[in-house]
Amino acid sequence: MSFLPYAVAVWLFVVGLWGVVTSRNLIHLVICLTVVQASTYIVLLGIGYRTGAAAPIFADIPTGTPTVDPVVQALTLTDVVVEATVVALLLALAVQAERRFGTLDPKEFGALRG
């Protein structure tokens, strides 16, 4: 039962990949990539969790109480915001591809010409 977080992470990874492979719209494809990203966040936070521990904010608890790992939270925190702008870059690529090929369907794309 305690494998459920990692199982959900694997499930999200697979579902996101399935969405990418069967996509007919570039924008839909980019959103499925965010689902894959969510699976990595769950793995990271799942690793750092300690049963019965508190959040690593010592504003109201004394120093030394057991808390969950703050390092993986720092990694996930910066990742969440930065990946939003990377998704924006991918969406700009999709807009540009639509401008060049006239369609958002990945199967209709021809070869890239300079």
Binding site: V10, G48, Y49, R50, A59, P70
Partner: protein, 249 residues
């Protein structure tokens, strides 16, 4: 290769990948049984060493500040990529005017919506400033607060059709804000070098408690908040087509 064959190959591949992932993740310690010592040491020493109570922000901006510098430049480069992609062909393509006209011909937001936006946006902006400023004491910090600031400006745009005051030229302002934020973080790092220690060393005096503790951490919070807010607004306005924003109505 037909679609069915491709999907069959994908199915086999993803089944193998899932099996590998499950096998790999099963080798980790049980959920809830975190064994690492580094995290425990960091959590225990963030208050005595840096006088800042939010251990996650201390890790992001002080103990692992170099990683944050790299992430911030990923953000910077993504924004440059969006600008490069969406600006180059703008004036050479026919039919761009049609695109702009289509968006401009949409009816303007109603008066009650504009009033709601004018009341709500300053509240959201103040909340964003609070989250950025108190990042080293309570949950939040530069990244979360920067996105809240950008969301406040987005609320203003959605409800009033105007993204900034009439005298500010919105496009150039937010690009400058983002550049200042990104470079500010580098300057803080160089300040550590000038103070005689390594890059990104925490060289400012640590307070004892309250808002001005943590040395360089509040400054880093502010600069990252500016960088993130400027970056998100620049990207959103570029996706919208900046020509609509350039002439503030």
């Amino acid at each position: 290769m037909s679609r069915r064959v491709r999907l069959a190959i994908f199915g086999v591949g993803v089944a193998g990948l899932a099996a590998l992932l499950v096998w790999g993740l099963a080798g980790l310690p049980d959920f809830g049984n975190y064994q690492g010592r580094y995290g425990r040491i960091v959590a225990r020493s963030s208050v005595p060493q840096r006088k800042a109570t939010d251990a996650v922000t201390v890790v992001t901006f002080d103990y692992r500040g170099f990683d944050t510098l790299g992430e911030e430049f990923i953000l910077f480069i993504s924004v440059i990529g969006v600008l490069a992609l969406l600006r180059t062909h703008r004036d050479t393509e026919e039919g761009d005017d049609l695109e702009v006209e289509a968006i401009r011909r949409a009816p303007p937001p109603s008066e009650s919506l504009a009033l709601l936006g004018r009341v709500l946006a300053p509240l959201v902006l103040v909340l964003g400033i609070y989250i950025v400023a108190h990042g080293h004491l309570t949950p939040g910090g530069g990244f979360a607060g920067g996105v809240v600031l950008a969301a406040g400006l987005l609320v203003l745009y959605l409800t009033t059709g105007r993204i900034a005051l009439r005298r500010i030229r919105p496009v150039e302002t937010f690009e400058a804000v983002e550049a200042v934020g990104s470079f500010g973080f580098v300057l803080i790092g160089i300040g550590g070098l000038i103070a005689g220690a390594q890059f990104l060393h925490n060289f400012l005096p640590l307070g004892s408690s309250g808002l001005l503790t943590g040395g360089t951490i509040p400054l880093a919070n502010v600069s990252v908040g500016l960088a993130v807010a400027g970056g998100v607004i620049t990207v959103l306005s570029e996706l919208l087509d900046q020509r609509l924003l350039r002439r503030a109505r």
